[in-house]
Amino acid sequence: MGAAQTPDTSRPLIVIRKVSRRYVRGVDEVHALENVSLSIPTGHFVAFMGPSGSGKSTLLNLVSGIDRPNDGEVLVAGQLLNELSEDELAQWRARHVGLIFQFFNLIPVLSARDNVALPLLLTHLTKAERLRRADTALRVVGLENRSDHYPRALSGGEQQRVAIARAIVTDPDLIVADEPTGDLDARNAEAILALLRQLKKDFGKTVVMVTHDPRALRFVDDAYHLDKGILLEGEEAERAAAVISMAAGGGPAATGARP
C-alpha cells in the first residue's frame, strides 16, 4: 500500500456510457441493465443500491471487468473494457481491481497471510516480497497479529478484513465490494464500512460497493439507486435515498443521481 495520496478528483476513474446488459435465461431474455450512464470520480466511495434484481450487481460486474455489456461503453482508469478478451480482462483485473465479496471467500487451506498474498502470485515479485506486502496489507486492516491463522480460526469480521487486505495488496486503482457487510453483525458491518472509508481517505482509493445496508449511506460519498435495470435519477433517486435514509435512522441522504 502506498502512503496517503491526494486523488485527482477532477478526473473520473469510471465512465459508463449508455450501457445495457441482457441475459438469456431459458427462453427468456432478461434486461439486467438498460441504457445506464454514470461517471465516478477518482478517490470517491460510492454505493450502488436497490432491491434484488435491480441490476446493481450486474453494474458492479461491468465496472470491475468481470462481465461485458451488450451495448455501451465501460471505461475504467482509461481502459475501454469492452475491447478486452476474457483473458485480457483477467490480467487487467489482477492489476487494477481489488475485489471483496459478501461471503469473504477465503481459501480455507491457506493462512491469512497466504490468502492475502494470493493475488501477488500473478506478479513477478519474489516470495519474500509477496509476504512482506501481505503483512503490510494485514497491518492496514488491523490483523497483523492474526496473519498465521487459518480462516476457520477467524471471526466473520476478521475474515472480511482479510478479504479486504487481499483486495488492496496489489495496490489497485479500484476496490469493488459486493455486499461486504451482508454476512456480518451490526458492529462488524460498521467496522468494515469504516475501513473502506479509510482506504478512500488515507490511500485515495476509489471504492465502489453494492449494498442493501442503509448504514452505508453514512460512509459513502455518493449512492446510485437502481430499479429494474434503470439508474434512478432526479426525484425518483431522491425518494429512494430518503426511504433508505429513514431506514438507517435519518441523517443526510447521499445520492449520486443528478437532479
Binding site: N61, D87, A90, L99, V109, L118, P119
Partner: protein, 388 residues
C-alpha cells in the same frame, strides 16, 4: 514453482481422499509393474532351468507322438553329441494319494546321469539306479509332498501303459525345481513284454547333451537330417525353446493378465478423474473467486492439472518403490527356499520403472484434464453465477 505451495495446500485439503486416491493409483502401478516383469522374468526363469547344451529331439508332429527307440543310438553317433537319453512318458498315478499324477518317465539309467550332470544327484544313487531294475529317482518336491524317503517302495499305475509297477526309491534329485519321477526303461519294457505285448520300442523325447554349446545348432540340424523322409521325422530344439513352448500357454495367460491390467488402469483413471471432478466441484466457489481476482483460464487449468498429476506422480513413485521392494524381498527369500526360488527371476528393471512412472503420469493427466478444462473454460461471470 511459485504455485507449488498453493498446489500442495490444495492436495492436503482432504487428506483422507488424497491418501485413498493415491493408494488406488499406487496399487495399480504396483500391479502393472509386477506384471510387466513377467515376460523378462519368464525368460530369465527359462535361462535358469534350461541348460544351454541340452537339446530336445521329438517327433516333428508334436511331443505326444513317439519316435523309434532305435533312433536314440543313431543320435548318439552324431558328431558333437556327448550323451543322449531316451525318455518315455509313463503317466504314473499314485493311487494311495487319490490317483494323483506327476511327471514320470521311463529313462535309460546308464545314460541319464551323463545328460543331466547339472542335476544334483549323488553318484552312489545313480549307481543304485543302474543296479536295481525297479529303482526310481525322485525329485525332492515329490518326496516331501508324499512323505517318501529313499528305500521306500511305491506303486504307480500307468495311465498310458496297461501296467502297474512297484518301485524302490533309490535316489533323490536334490532340487525343488525338478518334480520328476524317473524309472528304469528296461523295467517297463520287460513288464510290457511279460503281458505279451511288443515291449517298449519307442521313445517320447530324446534328450541330448552337446559337448560344445557352440555346436548345438549344427547338432540339431544333423539329427533332424538323420530322420528326414522317415516315418518319424524329428524336430530338435534347445531345452530353453522346449520349455518355452510349454510356457507358451502361460504367455497367453500373461497377455490376458496384461489386458486385465490395462482395464484396471483404465478403472483407476476413471476413479481418479471422478475424484478430481469432485474436488473441482467442491472448490467451484474458490475457483470462481480466483478467476475474479485475476487468475486466467490457463493458470487455473494448469494449477488443477498439476494437482492431479502431482498426486498421481507421487502415488506412482510410491507404487514403483513398493514393486521394487517387493521383488527385491522375493529375490532375497528366493535364496532361502527353492519353492519360491523362481520368483527371484522377476525383477523390476529400469524400463519397467519408467513405464510405471509414465503410467502414473498418464493417469494423472487423463484424470485431471477434463475437470480442469471444464473449470477453466467457464467465464468468470458464469462461474460466479453458479456458486453465488
Amino acid at each position: 514453482m511459485k504455485y507449488l505451495g498453493f498446489i500442495l495446500a490444495n492436495l492436503g485439503r482432504n487428506k483422507l481422499r488424497t491418501v485413498l486416491t493415491g493408494g488406488a493409483i499406487a496399487l495399480a502401478v504396483v500391479l502393472v509393474c509386477l506384471l510387466l516383469t513377467m515376460p523378462d522374468g519368464l525368460d530369465s526363469l527359462l535361462n535358469t532351468i534350461a541348460n544351454n547344451t541340452r537339446i530336445s529331439v521329438h517327433n516333428k508332429a508334436g511331443v505326444v507322438y513317439s519316435m523309434p527307440y532305435a533312433f536314440t543310438r543313431k543320435v548318439r553317433q552324431v558328431d558333437g553329441v556327448a550323451a543322449a537319453v531316451a525318455m518315455t512318458w509313463f503317466g504314473g498315478a499314485y493311487e494311495e494319494a487319490g490317483r494323483v499324477t506327476f511327471p514320470s518317465f521311463a529313462v535309460e539309467v546308464e545314460h541319464i546321469g551323463a545328460v543331466y550332470p547339472d542335476y544334483p544327484i549323488a553318484a552312489a544313487q545313480l549307481a543304485d539306479f543302474q543296479r536295481y531294475r525297479d529303482g526310481a529317482i525322485v525329485g525332492r518336491q515329490l518326496l516331501r509332498k508324499y512323505g517318501w524317503k529313499i528305500g521306500d517302495r511305491v506303486t504307480l499305475r500307468s495311465t498310458v501303459w496297461p501296467v502297474s509297477l512297484d518301485f524302490r526309491i533309490v535316489g533323490e534329485i536334490a532340487s525343488d525345481r525338478a518334480p520328476l519321477f524317473w524309472m528304469n526303461r528296461e523295467y517297463l519294457d520287460q513288464a510290457l513284454t511279460a503281458q505279451g505285448g511288443p515291449g517298449l520300442g519307442i521313445a517320447g523325447v530324446i534328450w541330448v547333451r552337446a559337448g560344445d554349446p557352440n555346436r548345438v545348432n549344427a547338432i540339431m540340424r544333423q539329427i533332424d537330417d538323420l530322420s528326414r523322409n522317415s516315418d518319424a521325422e524329428t524336430a530338435s530344439e534347445t531345452e530353453k525353446s522346449y520349455f518355452a513352448n510349454f510356457f507358451g500357454s502361460l504367455q497367453g495367460f500373461v497377455t490376458i493378465i496384461l489386458i486385465i491390467t490395462g482395464l484396471v488402469a483404465l478403472c483407476i483413471v476413471f476413479i481418479a478423474a471422478n475424484t478430481a471432478s469432485m474436488g473441482v466441484r467442491e472448490r467451484a466457489g474458490e475457483i470462481a473467486i480466483l478467476k475474479a481476482i485475476g487468475f486466467g483460464r490457463r493458470v487455473i487449468f494448469s494449477i488443477l492439472l498439476v494437482e492431479a498429476i502431482a498426486l498421481s506422480a507421487a502415488a506412482g513413485g510410491a507404487g514403483v518403490c513398493a514393486a521394487v521392494g517387493l521383488t527385491k524381498a522375493l529375490g532375497t527369500f528366493a535364496g532361502w527356499s527353492d519353492t519360491i526360488g523362481p520368483l527371484g527371476n522377476f525383477i523390476v528393471t529400469a524400463p519397467v520403472i519408467v513405464e510405471g512412472i509414465f503410467l502414473s503420469l498418464f493417469v494423472g493427466m487423463l484424470a485431471g484434464v477434463v475437470p480442469s478444462y471444464g473449470a477453466a473454460r467457464k467465464s468468470v461471470v458464469e462461474s460466479l453465477h453458479e456458486v453465488f
